[in-house]
Symmetry: C3
Subunit: 108 residues, 3 copies
């Protein structure tokens, strides 16, 4: 058995949780904080059989992969510039996956 510790952005957490339930993978969710940005993020503990590690990793990649998203940037209200909103691509998502060996697992 392996235990995956998967750290994702809060914005992707609900989608990942839903995808794990639909694929019948059990998981436990922790509210955590990023060391660098000091923003809230989410850590999942996911215990799986050895041969299911690849399947869970690809579910994480599908729901949480790093991607660019168009975001409208509005000039400040009192700016002298003519009022053009700009659209730029910002990078969101991304996940970090640690796989740790589990020596024994039981339910009581």
């Amino acid at each position: 058995m392996k235990l995956l510790l998967v750290i994702v952005q809060d914005a992707d957490a609900a989608r990942l949780q839903q995808a794990l339930v639909e694929s019948n993978f059990r998981a436990t969710k922790l509210a955590t904080t990023g060391g660098f940005l000091r923003e809230g993020n989410t850590t999942f503990l996911i215990g799986v059989n050895d041969k299911e590690v690849e399947t869970v990793t690809s579910i994480v990649r599908t729901t949480c992969h790093e991607r660019t998203q168009p975001q409208a940037i509005h000039p400040l209200a009192n700016s002298p510039e003519p009022y053009f909103s700009q659209v730029i691509d910002i990078s969101v998502g991304g996940a970090v996956i640690f796989v740790v060996n589990v020596e024994s697992f039981q339910r009581v």
Copy 2:
């Protein structure tokens, strides 16, 4: 040394914490959420010597094992049925235990 990750229902957490202190086992508690029921539960991190894993597992089994509990079910207030409360058995408790190897442990 081994690190046990023990996931229990919130209702059993205080009793398990008390039992660990009385048996002189050190532990750290995390507030977590179940992936399926999306309800709050509790995860304990418990670092123990290799030969104490069985003792801690049996403390968890004694305080958090799955059991049935009688629960009164009251008919809805406006139900036409004559007013009988029923008592049915519901299943509560249960714990999940992961044991992970610790390569080194130190206190600074």
Copy 3:
């Protein structure tokens, strides 16, 4: 790769987080509770290359080591004793470090 689980007092958490960022170590922070004192404490998850374990451990020792701190103890307001404040040494800080092996690590 190794995953360090580092449990520190809340009072030392911000200083440790800052020191890790300055040394370019990535980390994730969890709000946790001590099993014995039932007070809030902080657990860091820190994934590092095998040869960086010693460096991170010494950063933890420098920022969170157990130390004594002078603390003024004031006699109770209505005490008959002449009004002398005393200064005694109390012990603060201290950290617990678990090192666990990581079988695989990826970012998606």
